[in-house]
Amino acid sequence: MPLNKLSTGAALAALLLLGACGEKAGDSAPKSEAAKEAAGDATIAAGLGDATKFAAAAKQSGLDATLGGPGPYTVLVPTDAAFDKMPAGALDALMKPEGRAELTGVLTYHILPGAMLAADIGKAIDAGKGKTVLATMAGGTLTATKEGDAIVIADGAGTKARILGPDEKKSNGVIHRIDAVLMPS
């Protein structure tokens, strides 16, 4: 059975490396129903709210299905005002059918794996002595720092986006609203 092989192999590796056994790898982790309920039934896709431009872009690139799926994802959602700050015509160009591949790249640069709260990012920033790197679905990375209490996310070109407001926990992850559109480079 593949699962047994996996757990044996992993346990063996753990033994060799650390001489300690914690959970047996390969077990399905039990879910906490209470925790799930606390997150609510609404998915990220259903919870975009005011971010109409992001929602339209997600639909255009087929990512609305992703953000309605099991995830989990941490999504940095630029506000409509953030999209308005883009160079004139840039968003229009991305929203055309021929711009779909690029649009998908831009949006996936705002999607991170797993469920990450602002406090989690903050802890990593502190542990990293002032900054931490975040992996994105697009393949590139973002850099997170703090300015006072606020968390600031920077893209490769140096554009900075601030996380506005509290964590929005969803059934399939977290939404953090930001005030700028981050660009892969």
């Binding site: 590796a13 790898a25 087929g62 299905a65 779909r100 794996p113 990450m116 994105t136 070109a157 892969p184």
Partner: protein
Amino acid sequence: MMRWMLAAGAAVLAITAPVAAQKGGHGGGKEHGAGQQKASHGSGGGQKADRGTRGGGQKAERSARGGGNDRMRGPQRMQRQSFVQRDDHQSRGRGHNEVRQESRGKGQAMKVDRGNRGNDNVRMVRDDRPGRALVRGNDRDRDLRVARFDRDRDEGVRFVPRWNDRGLVRGFVDGCPPGLAKKGNGCMPPGQAKKLVGTPLTAALGLSALDGPYRNWYRDNDRFMYRWDDDYIYRVDRDRGLIDALFPYTNRDYYYYPVGMTYPDYYNYYNVPYQYQSFYPDGGDYWYRYGDGAIYQVNPSNGTISGIAALLTGDPFAVGQPLPLGYSAYNVPFAYRDRYYDTADNWYRYNDGYIYRVDPTTQLITAVINALV
């Protein structure tokens, strides 16, 4: 364990030495490799925060370990990694255009950081190599700017938006246009990829069991086994010993097929990773196909992509491997947080359907736990 690390470190230095020689002794690549090693031994959370080096350390270790499976892309990727490193150091704080040279064995490619995103006039100039192009343009600050096209996959997105006053300028970044399969350094026409299906598995391929995260994604079972080479993952029918299906070995160039495109016929096999199969089964209303970071939802009646069902990073998580760059922040799904939380002895990180336990001191992954919310 230590010996393995030292050997990997030595191999990294060996691989990057020729690069340093070419560039007049610049130690970008070496520094990168050593830095990654240091991060593994160093304090928890102290991974080198450098965009360009994400995942590179793991690749170097993989090719050092691989022996017979030494992937030819390894040295080339290390080469390009070193340039990324150097550019990051130079341009950090300036964020403006930088001209970089890169030699890739056969030709030269110029690349420049994009810098500001003003209205640039860009003119496409076709290169002699298929699938690649140089772009020249002007802006107010500089006379000549060349857009960046030859990109190592770890630098990020393959399609980078560029626009001028006429609209979006498209360039294929280090990749193949739709319709051509990536093979080695060139772009293989689809007919050739398809021809491999139905042929016997070669002896060499027979030995190449999947490594890294893919061992959990595509699990050998009684009916099929999975093997790989530089270009494809092959599903092999055990009874007949023939290749039953193939799809690109995830190369993480993050070319997301646009919605509306016909899913490539030559990879049209159900290849959803194991941990997602209960969500995206075969034989339902949709076809589900995995490719380069996305599970695509395909309309069976016309074969076109109707959406992206899920995104995966494909980052190299595996027991015994270092935690990849970009996962310093705790990201375990809510349903599991009351059981898997960070302590001084153990960290937990989620990726692609699994929760991984990490030793904070060594930054090595010590266990994998099945988990899908």
